[in-house]
């Protein structure tokens, strides 16, 4: 009898542990699923195929920016310039392709290249000029890139891109938007990069303890420059999707997008202190924001109230995270 009771206890403890591990791993995913359930009950159009594909399309720009943002945040940094870099990249492409009549493929390279170049400058400013925090270098770049985007076209939008440029943002493979397929491919690549390569592990190590990483022989500067270059490159790529989606390039594109990207990364469980965060968490964070926006739009909730609700979700998501960490420390 006693033996049986003992076994049962063991069983319960085990069960509790697995439930806990499961919740730790999939907490935000469960949040996303519950959110979808609530929205589906409140709105009969929410689960239509058309609407799900709308969400996939609408989330793809922020998904690309957020995965770029994940890297600086993993190193305990931040990149405030991604929205402005996006604008500068697409305006450069607009001038090259529409105004100068360059080959569209060259335009795509210019767009992504401009993004990467701006990101590289961010990295150089941080590591070689020894500016105290990436908040400062990227805040500077945020203003510089936005200013340049406005100057080079005298603030005028550029429309009339060829199909080759619009392909990423406007095409569908069956019902699935090509932009979302791009997101899935990029996320798989980033997952492999962060978990399977030495550089990926260095990124986590730098975020965990920069000095220790340095002492253990990691070339911290080189890794940081790469991190900001990749972040800028993703801005250029997100810009390509945006141009295809709205059929034009305009210098105020991407205004405040850095904030949505940061929100997605943080809701996805990454820590501002660096070293913690995953690619899939970022995906879930992006989807939570996109689903919430779309659902609130479907319910005719004003943009002002939407801002308030998203603010509450950011704080709540991080608070749940804080509670989780406190609980695991107690044990």
């Amino acid at each position: 009898m006693a033996n049986v009771a003992f076994d049962e206890n063991q069983e319960i403890v085990k069960e509790k542990k697995t439930v806990k591990a499961f919740l730790n791993k999939f907490g935000s995913l469960i949040g996303l699923i519950l959110l979808c359930l609530i929205l589906a009950i409140l709105n009969r159009d929410f689960l239509s195929l058309n609407n799900i594909m709308n969400i996939a399309r609408q989330s793809s720009i922020n998904a690309l920016l957020a995965i770029g943002m994940l890297l600086p945040i993993l190193t305990a940094g931040i990149d405030l310039s991604i929205g402005s870099i996006l604008a500068l990249s697409i305006m450069c492409m607009g001038i090259a392709v529409v105004n100068m009549g360059l080959n569209p493929i060259a335009g795509l390279i210019i767009c992504v290249g401009t993004g990467a170049l701006c990101g590289w400058v961010n990295g150089i400013l941080l590591t070689k000029l020894r500016l105290p925090h990436p908040f400062i270098s990227t805040l500077g770049m945020m203003n510089i890139a936005r200013g340049l985007a406005l100057i080079i076209t005298a603030a005028a939008p550029i429309a009339g891109f060829p199909m080759a440029v619009q392909f990423l943002g406007s095409s569908f493979a069956g019902p699935i938007p090509v932009s979302f397929i791009l997101v899935v491919i990029i996320y798989i690549l980033f997952h492999l990069f962060l978990t399977r390569t030495a550089t990926g592990k260095y990124i986590y190590a730098i975020g965990g303890n920069r000095d220790a990483a340095h002492l253990s022989g990691i070339n911290v500067d080189r890794v940081l420059i790469l991190v900001y270059t990749l972040s800028g490159l993703m801005s250029g790529l997100a810009g390509l999707v945006l141009v295809g989606r709205v059929n034009s390039a305009f210098p105020l594109a991407g205004l405040d997008y850095e904030l949505d990207a940061i929100a997605a990364v943080i809701i996805g469980g990454a820590s501002f202190f660096g070293g913690v965060g995953t690619v899939w968490g970022t995906m879930v964070g992006t989807l939570i924001i996109a689903v919430l926006r779309n659902g609130l739009n479907l319910m005719n909730i004003t943009s002002d109230l939407q801002k308030t609700i998203i603010g509450i979700v950011i704080i709540a998501a991080v608070f749940v995270d804080v509670l989780r960490q406190r609980a695991s420390k107690k044990q």
Binding site: G31, L35, D45, N50, Q58, L242, R245, V246, N297, I301
Partner: protein
Amino acid sequence: MKKRLSLSLIFLILLGVVLTGCSNNDANVEAKSKPTIVVVLKTLSSQYWKFVEAGAKKAGEDHNANVIILGPSSEGSILDQVNLVEDSLTKKPDAMVVSPSQPPTLIPVFKKAKKMGVPILLVDTDADWDDKTSFLGTDNVTAGRQAGNLLAQKLKPGDKVVLIDGALGNTATDARSKGAKEALEKQHIKVVAEQPADSDKAEAEAVMSNILQVHPDINGVYCANDDMAIGAARAIQAHHLKVPIIGTDGTIEAVNSILKGDLAGTIAQKPYDMGYRGVVNALRAAGGKSVKKRIDTGVAVISKENAKKELSFLQKILGQ
């Protein structure tokens, strides 16, 4: 552990309750009996768009339609507006009234609306898209011409005037300046200087001051919008001049300035009518009736005589 779970649950339930409270459930129930018109404006957070919103709302009440009015948080939130139009289409409205912030950006979504058979009416700002049902807005050349005539009434042939334009390439303000110039020159009034001030108050003040250095003897000023007129008036006062200044738009601030005597008049657009007639014509289109492809929503000449009446009308719309 339990505590955390229950906290998360409480949060989610609260969110659910908030959302249910916010959602327009009665609108969903009534949707079948009444036609639904979705209106997406550039933003709902500025005075001008409040007038459009008020007009659209009133049209819904008068014609027993379910009118939903939406807009991003600022005119700069361009992709938000695209998403808003796209999400609104999911609800299959009977027609939509849209004011595009950046017209080319909405054309892919408009094409989708066409495929779904949802008529699209544009208000205030036109888009280069042939399949729109209609465009309702101010005829800016006429507005400029009326302004030119109003200014000419206060002057005599041979007098010198200054024109202050909007940003280079802004089609609306360019058309106004063109109309004003035509009307003034017809009455043999000389335009001695014409310069852009980007529709901005402070910029117009600076531009006006510079012009006064070269032409201290001007007799009148036309500005392509009211903010620039108010800025120019400051510069004129600083130079101790007293000349008539005419603006365009009909903002509350401009009407107040007319009452104070700082401005001689303005040509008011009719944003309230744009909203009202936008919805009325959207209902016609939804009912399969024909709608004119271009509807001029008209302008009103506001001067000292009728400024008080205009002011109380505008304040009533805003519920002040």
